[in-house]
Amino acid sequence: MIGALFALAAFGMALVWGVMNVINITQGEFVVLGGYVAVLLAENGIHPFYAILVAPILLYGIGWFFYQTIIKRVVDRDLFTSLLATFGISILLQQLMNQVFGADIRRAAHGYGTWGFFDGLVTVEQVKLLAAVAAIALGGVLVLFLKKSRLGQAIRATAQNARAARIMGIDTDKVYAATYSLNAAICGAAGAMVAMIWVVEPYIGLVYTIRAFMIAIIAGLGNLSGVVVAGLGLGVAENFAGFILGAEYQIAFVFGLLVVILVGRSYLLGRKREYLK
C-alpha cells in the first residue's frame, strides 16, 4: 500500500523524463513540500486530508515558478546540465525548508484509527488504506487526463517527438511548463499523504527522489502498469529489509539497492552489447 505513493512520485518523474528529457532531482523536495502543506493545515485546525487537494494547487504554482526561472533554460541542453540544475534547486529547497519549518521531524495529525482483524493479528491503519485509494484514484485521473484531454494529447505528442509537435502547432514551451508543474502537483499530493502516514523532515527528500528514479528505471518510461508494480514491489522490499536488517540500514538499503539495480541492468544489457539510454 505504501508503494502506491512511491509509484505516484515515480510516475511524475517518468513523465518529466519522458517528455522533457530532464531527470528531476527536485522530485523528493516537492514531496516533502507537499507534506509540509498537510502539516501546516493540520496545525491550523483543518483536517490534513484536504491537503491532498490544496497541496497540488500550491505545488503547481511552485513548479511553474521553477520552470519559468530555471528549467526553461536547461531543457534543451544536455542531460547533465539539467541534472545539476535540479540538484541545485533541491539543495536550495532543502535548506529553505529547514530555515522556514525547522529541522524537526513533523507529522500531520489525522485522527484516523486502526482496524483490527482476527483479534488484532492483522491490523490495517485506516489512513494508509485511504491514502492508497486516493493514490490509485489520482493515478487513474492522471492517465485519463493524458489520454483524453487536449493538453494531455499535446504532452504525449511532445514526448514522442518535440520537433514534430512544434511543427504541428503545439507550443512545446507551454507543454513543458504544464508537464513540470503537473509533476510538482502530483508530488505534492503524494507528499500530503506521506505526512499523514509517516513524517516529514527537510532532508528526507533525496530518498524519495532515488526511490522514484529506481521505480522509473525498473519499469521503463511511460509504462504505467510497470510503475505501479515496481512501486508496490519496492514498498514491500523496503519493509522487509527494514524488518531484517534493522531500521538504521534503511537509507543505506535504498541507495545500495539503486546501485545494485543500475549495475545489474547494465550488466544484462551489456551481454547484448547494449546499454541504458
Binding site: 531527470i23 530555471i70 533554460r73 536547461v74 541542453r77 542531460l79 547533465f80 546540465t81 541534472l83 545539476l84 540544475a85 540538484f87 541545485g88 534547486i89 533541491s90 539543495i91 536550495l92 529547497l93 532543502q94 535548506q95 529553505l96 529547514n98 530555515q99 533525496l206 532515488i210 528514479f213 528505471i217 538504521e248 540500514y249 537509507i251 543505506a252 541507495f255 545500495g256 539503486l258 546501485v259 543500475l262 549495475v263 547494465s266 550488466y267 551489456g270 546499454y275 541504458l276 539510454k277
Partner: protein, 343 residues
C-alpha cells in the same frame, strides 16, 4: 614577456606562494591547507567530470575511505586494539613525531591501494553505465557508503573515531599540513598535466565527445573510464588521509563522507572554474574557497541556500566557467590551445 617565460614565472610564483603564504599568515594555516585540498578535489573531479564527461557525485567515497584507512593504520600500529574504544573516546592519542609521520605515510599508502582497488572493482560495474545513469548511481553510492560507514563498529560507527594528535607544538600542525597539501596539489597537478598530454588524455576526451565512436575506433572505453576513476581515487585518498589527521576527529557523515559539502563543492568548483581545462578547477577552487571563507560566516544558516542558488546560477548562466569565459574573451592569450566548439 614571451610565451616560453610565462609558465616558468607562473609556476615559480605559485611555488613562492605555497612556501611563504602559510608563514606570512600563521593564523590562516588551516584555511590555506584547506584551499590546497579544495584544488585537489576540483582537479580530481575534473578527470571524470570535465575531461571524460562523466559527472560523479560519489568521488567523496574515496576521500572518506582514505581518511578511515590512514587513521585505522595509526591505531593498529601504535595502540592496543583492546584499548581502542577507550582511547578514542578520551582523545588521548600521543605519539612521537617519527611514529606519527611513519604511521601517516604507511596509512596513506594502504589507503591509496585500498581506494584504487575499490575504484577498480566498483568502476567495472558502475562505469559500464552511461552519462546520467552514472551520475545518479554515484549519488546513491556516496550516500550509501556514508550511511554504511556509520554502522561499522571497528571504525567507531556513528560516533566516529579520533586520529592521533599532532605530536609537535599546537601551532605547527597547520604549517605541516599546509605544506602536505601543497605538495599533494603540485603532485596532482603535474601528474594530470602529464596524463592529459598522453594518449590516455586523448582517449578520455574521445569518450566525452562520442563514446560509441570511441568504442568503434577500438578503445576499451570501460577500461579507460575505470583507470581514470582509479587515478581520481588515488589522489583523493591522500587528501582524505591528510584531512582526517588535520581535523583530528572523524565523523562518518560530516567529515569522512560529506556529500552535501565537499562532495557538492568539488563539482561546483570545477564547473565554476571551467571544466575540461587544466587550470579551470584550480582557479575555480581558489575563487570558491576564498569567497567562502570570507562570506560564509555572515550567511549563518543560509549557506546551503546560497550554495544551491550558486549551483543553479553557475550551471544555467555560466556553463563554461571562468576559464571558458576567459578563452572566449581573450582567445589570443591561449595561443594554439583554442578549441573551437563545433556547434
Amino acid at each position: 614577456m614571451n610565451t616560453t617565460d610565462r609558465p616558468v614565472l607562473l609556476y615559480g610564483g605559485i611555488l613562492m606562494v605555497g612556501i611563504f603564504l602559510p608563514l606570512a599568515f600563521p593564523a590562516f594555516q588551516t584555511q590555506i591547507a584547506m584551499m590546497w585540498m579544495m584544488i585537489t578535489f576540483a582537479l580530481t573531479w575534473d578527470i571524470l567530470g570535465g575531461r571524460m564527461g562523466y559527472n560523479s557525485f560519489g568521488n567523496i567515497v574515496f576521500f572518506g575511505v582514505g581518511m578511515y584507512a590512514a587513521a585505522s593504520i595509526q591505531h593498529e600500529l601504535y595502540f592496543d586494539i583492546g584499548q581502542f574504544e577507550v582511547i578514542s573516546n578520551q582523545f588521548n592519542l600521543q605519539l612521537t613525531p617519527e611514529k606519527y609521520v611513519f604511521g601517516l605515510g604507511l596509512g596513506m599508502i594502504v589507503g591509496a591501494i585500498l581506494c584504487v582497488v575499490m575504484a577498480w572493482v566498483m568502476g567495472l560495474g558502475i562505469l559500464g553505465l552511461r552519462g546520467q545513469y552514472f551520475a545518479i548511481c554515484t549519488l546513491g553510492l556516496g550516500v550509501a557508503v556514508g550511511e554504511f560507514a556509520g554502522s561499522i563498529d571497528y571504525i567507531g560507527a556513528g560516533s566516529g573515531m579520533a586520529a592521533p594528535v599532532f605530536p609537535l607544538a599546537m601551532g605547527s600542525a597547520g604549517l605541516f599540513f599546509s605544506y602536505f597539501f601543497f605538495i599533494l596539489v603540485v603532485a596532482t597537478f603535474f601528474s594530470l598535466k602529464w596524463l592529459y598530454s598522453t594518449r590516455f588524455g586523448l582517449a578520455l576526451n574521445a569518450i566525452r565527445d562520442d563514446e560509441d565512436k570511441a568504442e568503434a575506433m577500438g578503445l576499451h572505453t570501460t577500461r579507460y573510464k575505470t583507470v581514470a576513476w582509479c587515478v581520481a581515487a588515488f589522489f583523493l585518498s591522500f587528501a582524505g588521509a591528510g584531512f582526517g589527521h588535520l581535523n583530528g576527529f572523524i565523523d562518518p557523515l560530516d567529515v569522512a563522507f560529506p556529500g552535501a559539502t565537499f562532495g557538492v563543492w568539488m563539482v561546483l568548483m570545477a564547473i565554476l572554474g571551467g571544466k575540461g581545462t587544466l587550470w579551470g578547477p584550480v582557479v575555480g577552487a581558489v575563487v570558491f574557497h576564498v569567497t567562502q571563507e570570507f562570506f560564509w560566516s555572515t550567511l549563518l544558516g543560509w549557506q546551503r541556500v546560497a550554495l544551491g542558488l550558486l549551483i543553479v546560477i553557475v550551471v544555467v548562466f555560466f556553463p563554461l566557467g571562468i576559464m571558458g569565459w576567459a578563452k572566449e574573451r581573450w582567445p589570443e592569450r591561449f595561443g594554439h590551445k583554442i578549441e573551437e566548439s563545433p556547434s
